[in-house]
Symmetry: D2
Subunit: 260 residues, 4 copies
């Protein structure tokens, strides 16, 4: 299916990583709070896009929020409550792997949420997001799209590749026959929640590598390009020969055997 | 500095990943709880080893615990309390990026913990670990070693490579002049906490790729090799042409420009 | 200073307690969520009013939320985040001993919050509360008032009575000289946040016992008066003589000596 | 059934409250951590004893831990994990209304825990408690006893008094027919967990008021009697007439009608 060349991808990605690292330094220095929401069909590539960003940042600064199914207690609470717990404090970046949009996405399509709940969500979500934005949180919402041909191909890969088999769930099987329902649900989400303060951006992830570059580039474009140079560190030469490891009680275990 | 060949590394790693994925399936099916502690000097390669494991597993099953500095409240609590919060429930795997051994490692070497606290820790740690093991938790402790020549080289890389600069902290500067103190601290840790129920394994990480393979191989060897086949999934052909994405309100943003 | 007679108070209170217990049974049966905010000057009687309500209810159903000073992390978060954590799940009643109104009350008067933060709060609070109410949470806000003569008398009691001395803080000393500032801050709060969906009720607590009765009566009047009879319990007679305690290893310690 | 005179009780209690308040001041000043475990049959009087202590202390210092049924996640964890979360930080006092002893008490008697789990608990509990005590936590364990005659009387009261009806659960009905099983379970607990570092104290709660006095007296006797005088507070006279409340927008609601 073609796609961009690997080497071109890694070259382009590295440049973006440099900007991400700079952006993170700025966020920490200024106490900025950044939330990025990743939504999209199964297999669209949310996880990979999140890893591309978080992989080059300090895990103590950049957290991923991938919530499990709500507990009974959580089900009884204000709908947004369990998401609020994961919002960033000053200097933090939080990447939501799926988000509060579950209600109007997977829950709606699968019939786990009633239409009244969905409507209530559509009334609440823009208000909720405006509160966060008014409080100074920088909120970005990305929708990763892919057509069914690519989705089928990726499902097939999950089915066949033992390394990816765990990614396949019974919900995925259902999702296949509801491709068009998901399209409708997404359009409703856009109609109701594409606001001035928290607009959606759709990114084509039929080519996942290209999609990641596009998404990260867009994210960086929407953040200030402020250079906060790293704090200088005084780094004198060692005044002795570098020491070796000295083991007394326990020695390293034998190396993995490389037959070469 | 040589090291193993990239292609050999990736071939070997992929085989290990397959076993890791199988092990995780077994852990989930049996409700096993697995804790892996990663300790070692700065730059030894804890983060990379953790990513090699967690990267191929379901993030909802395999969590990384990298605790920030203790808050004032935490400082007043039972020393192990804030770590206990992150222990796994049935079916989970938790990778500790540093751990309760901070007290006898970095805190001792930097003078943040008094000798009495260290002694109290040495009395408590084996008991604490025995409780977890007796409760059925599978606990593995790895010490990643590297000599100062490699450490210096990696520090230098962090200093020079803007992508890695955030990894460098003022504690690192201190750590350089205390290489031998860390050696002594580690030997004390081994002397006091290398128990039958929770032994230490030292892995040479002078070559980080090789170190990762060695560590994962050892971890897998110490876990049962039980095959739990994935649940079969019925996967019928689509009964229609694969659908395309159809956008009404919002279209995908322009792709990242690849100049080729 | 007079006040209502003790016996009359306890008679009236018991009747209200019966209604509170019935209301709690209804809340549990219907999965209702109830939030009651208690605000007012120091010494007004928030703690006593809260105890009058919570004291007759199941502590597993009716929780008191009295938040400590925010941690550094909390200070960096969305202002409402740390309060959201304490909102009720289905069937619960949460009594807030002070609340998010701190920002426009004590924080403003003491100069801990800047005017911009206060204005931001005034914009956000009605929206925040509307979201909760729209989600189905029943929200009640009470302001307990007392004049300075009574406040001084109660401060004096805290100063002189060793049982109450811990209630007196340095903030209280400050509060005395800012009585009028608190009045102004309260009027601003009413002007900005007395909404149709979450109105304020002022209750005169110059006589604290009378204030409690007034507050509870009003709260009950604003909740549905639905009778949900307790589940019947089959309660057969014991088929043997009641048993005595039989101690083998440890006997009860000697009783406290009552010299009578 | 007699019992001690109310006025004598309140006189004696007030003296103990003074000591409790002093003890709490000492605990805060010294950063002491205090845990008190309350166990005993249903209706023995755990809740009342806890209220007698917590009622006179700062709720921000003295917390009550009454855990709900474990969630599924908690059931899969290290048995003590969910209790560890509630342990005190420096300066705090935590009163456990039931505790980890559930496993060998109610869970065993009701058949919710298997004998192997109970044995595992008996091996672990003394070790767990020793770890806390070695860490400097002051741990006190009280068993409140009452014979079946009193228990029946109190169950009857809960059945008949609408104010107490919520305290009666289906577990209570079961408990009646298992009075002797509870006795046996308690004796096993004493046999296994009455250690030098965390001894049990049995207190006769057939007369609950007397029981409370006995328990509090014993607790105070086992804590140091160190006087930490309260910090002096400068308390000048007001330099103006005490102000009245002045309401602009909202007036107090009408007082509760006292017909006298």
């Amino acid at each position: 299916m073609g796609g961009i060349k690997k080497s071109h991808y890694y070259d382009a990605l590295e440049k973006l990583e440099l900007e991400l690292v700079g952006m993170a330094r700025w966020a920490r220095a200024r106490g900025e709070r950044i939330v990025v929401v990743f939504e999209g069909r199964d297999t669209a590539g949310k996880g990979g896009a999140i890893k591309a960003i978080s992989g080059c940042l300090d895990p103590r600064q950049c957290r991923v929020a991938a919530l499990p199914k709500p507990s009974d207690d959580e089900r009884g609470q204000w709908y947004f409550q369990r998401y609020v717990r994961h919002l960033p404090t000053a200097g933090e970046i939080v990447l939501f792997d799926r988000s509060w949009y579950n209600r109007a996405g997977v829950e709606r399509v699968m019939g786990w949420a009633g239409e009244e709940q969905v409507e209530q969500f559509f009334r609440a979500a823009p208000v909720f997001e405006k509160m966060l934005v008014d409080d100074g949180i920088r909120l970005f919402k990305y929708w990763l799209s892919c057509d069914q041909e690519h989705q089928e191909e990726r499902f097939r890969e999950r089915l066949d590749d033992p390394l990816k088999r765990w990614k396949l769930s019974s919900t995925d099987v259902e999702a296949r026959s509801r491709y068009a329902d998901y399209t409708r649900a997404r359009e409703a989400i856009f109609a109701q929640t594409n606001t001035g303060w928290a607009p959606w951006r759709v990114v084509d992830f039929n080519d996942q590598k290209l999609g990641r570059l596009t998404l990260i580039r867009d994210l960086l474009n929407r953040l200030p390009d402020t250079d906060v140079p790293p704090a200088p560190i005084d780094w004198p030469e060692l005044d002795h020969e570098p020491r070796g490891e000295e083991f007394d009680r326990l020695k390293p275990i034998p190396d993995f055997p490389m037959d070469d």
